[in-house]
Structure formats: structure tokens, C-alpha cells
Symmetry: C2
Subunit: 152 residues, 2 copies
DNA sequence: CAATATCCGACTTCTTCGGTCCGGGTTTAG
DNA sequence: CTAAACCCGGACCGAAGAAGTCGGATATTG
């Protein structure tokens, strides 16, 4: 259905929270989970993934927790989603760079791959910092198209 | 994982196939399914949805089948996906225009809604006709960003 | 009437997501 | 030193949604 997972949502929320609390040395998974009312153990696993991807630094022991490894401006939403949910592809049949062998006549993906690139580009242009700004950020695209939802 | 369903893929493929065969009055679901090697009954249900959405015209009985209700240039990929998979939202918590009541502190969706708009805009700018063109179409974006996949 | 289609809901199967549990290893406070 | 607080990571399970099947009803043509 073309929506990102809750885990990715949680990850973005957690990074945003960390970005908004730069004065603290580190925040535990439980702290962040309580702040948003999300299951702590689940958030913990997400933060572990982000740590393994190099987006976070972790510190065990008492008063330990997580902290951003870079400036919030240098972390893109794409990196977060990618490290949590893995590489995403719009089309269901694409695996790697090869076309789908199963359905040889699937000539759909060629133009859809360009859509995929566009989405990835938008996600890469958004930083964690942008999520905290309640005013309009630098802008994901040159021109913010005024689109209307078709709530059927 | 931010990918569209197989049903949407099938729908796009079927419309593309219809667009490439304008000389025929109507094609049955089985004809299209056989051409792509996808289950006929499943494709039939998808085409029914597209008919109810007004993208296709159906004709029962012998020599019946489906035909595009408009020019292929006038049907966007957005309409197809929307009518098959329903309205899509990037964020998992958004329902309608209201914010998520469950997690009151979810301030993430505001910027992500803009991403949602961008994606919808790209999908709307792509027509069925564009899928058939093997050359570069009008172009979903001004500049085709040369992005590289991070196959982890 | 008979053959060929669409039409449409119910049903099964399969995968993935969301979430939990538990047994580790580390660091710090007392 | 010991215990508390924290991170680490695999195993596990239920729920939800996707993919696909089945069966019957209706419409159209020859």
C-alpha cells in the first residue's frame, strides 16, 4: 500500500526526539519510548539497528543510552528508513539491478524505477533537523506542488 | 517497505497492454492474463475495480472484455493505484485529515505529509501512455537525479 | 438453449509486521 | 564486589494484510 512501516516511523520519531534534546549526553530507549508511548523493547531493537548503521552511538551501563553520531542536519530520512526497513523498491518484482525473470514481459518497471529514484531523492533531501522545524524547512522539492488528497 | 502491491502492478500492466492494442474492441481478462502469465481470476477482480472507478469500460457476453474509457494519455498511474489499493498515506497513523489520537506527540507526520504529496504528484504526472513509451517520456521530474542504490 | 464473458462475495494460504520474551554482556553507583 | 541500569540480539507468536482460489449469478451472443 505504499506506506512505510511503523518501525521506520518510530525510528524517525526517536531521532527527532534526540535532536531536540542536545543538552543530554544520552537518552535510554525507555526514556524515548515513554515520551511517545510506544513499546520500549521494540524501540530498543530499532535503535540497535540504527546504531549498527552508524547513525547513533550507544553507551551501555547506568546513565547510558543513545545519542546522535552526527549533526541532525547530516542525517537524512532516507538513511533512517533504509537502515530499518532495508532497501526499498516501488516495484515488487525488482531484485537488485536485474529485471524480473519470472514475468519476462514485465516492461512496467522501467518507468517506475524513475519514480523510485524520485522518491528516494525526496527522502534524501529531508534531514532529521527538518522534522523538528515546525516552520517550512528548506523544502524537499524546488516547488512545493499544492496537491489535493482524493479522499474517496 | 514502501512498495506498491502486486495488484497495482498487474493493473498498470493490464492498462498498458490495453493501451498498446487500440485496434481491438475489447480484451478479456483471460487474454491479458495469459499475455503476462498472471492468474486470470485475480486479474479479473482488479479489472472490475478499475471498471467501477471509471477507468475501464466492460462488456459482458461473448467477444466481451475490457477497454479503456479514455485516452491512455488521460489516465494517470495515480488513479490506477488509488482505485486498486485505496488512498495511500506514507505515515501509518494518519487516517483522514485528523492527526493520530493514539500518540498525541506524533509530530512526525507534518513534514512527511509533504513527502506524501510529492509522491502523489509524481504518480499523477505519469500516464499509461508514458508506460508504453520505451523512450524517455515527458519526464516525471525536471532533472532525473542519478541516484545510486545502497544494496546493503 | 448453450457458450462465453463479466460480476461479486467468501474462503484459504502465505508472508510480513508489530510486539514480546528471555538469556546474555557492559558500565556505573554504592 | 555487587547490584542496578542499560545495551545486545536471537527466538517466538499473534494479528493483519496480500495473493490467489472457488463457486455461483448475470448478461450477451450465436
Amino acid at each position: 500500500m505504499l506506506k512505510l512501516t511503523k518501525k521506520a516511523d518510530y525510528g524517525l520519531m526517536a531521532l527527532k526526539y534526540l535532536a531536540e534534546h542536545p543538552e543530554t549526553v544520552a537518552l535510554s530507549a525507555k526514556d524515548i519510548a515513554d515520551a511517545y508511548g510506544i513499546p520500549a523493547q521494540l524501540l530498543a531493537k530499532i535503535l540497535q539497528k540504527l546504531t549498527k548503521s552508524g547513525l547513533l552511538k550507544s553507551h551501555a551501563g547506568m546513565n547510558g543510552g543513545y545519542a546522535l553520531s552526527r549533526d541532525a542536519r547530516e542525517i537524512s530520512a532516507y538513511e533512517v528508513i533504509h537502515s530499518i526497513d532495508g532497501p526499498f523498491f516501488i516495484t515488487s518484482c525488482t531484485k537488485g539491478s536485474k529485471g524480473c525473470e519470472l514475468t519476462p514481459s514485465c516492461t512496467i518497471k522501467e518507468p517506475l524505477a524513475r519514480v523510485n529514484d524520485t522518491i528516494a531523492g525526496v527522502l534524501k533531501s529531508i534531514s532529521i533537523q527538518d522534522l523538528s522545524d515546525h516552520e517550512h524547512p528548506a523544502g524537499p522539492t524546488e516547488k512545493s506542488s499544492p496537491l489535493v488528497y482524493l479522499t474517496h
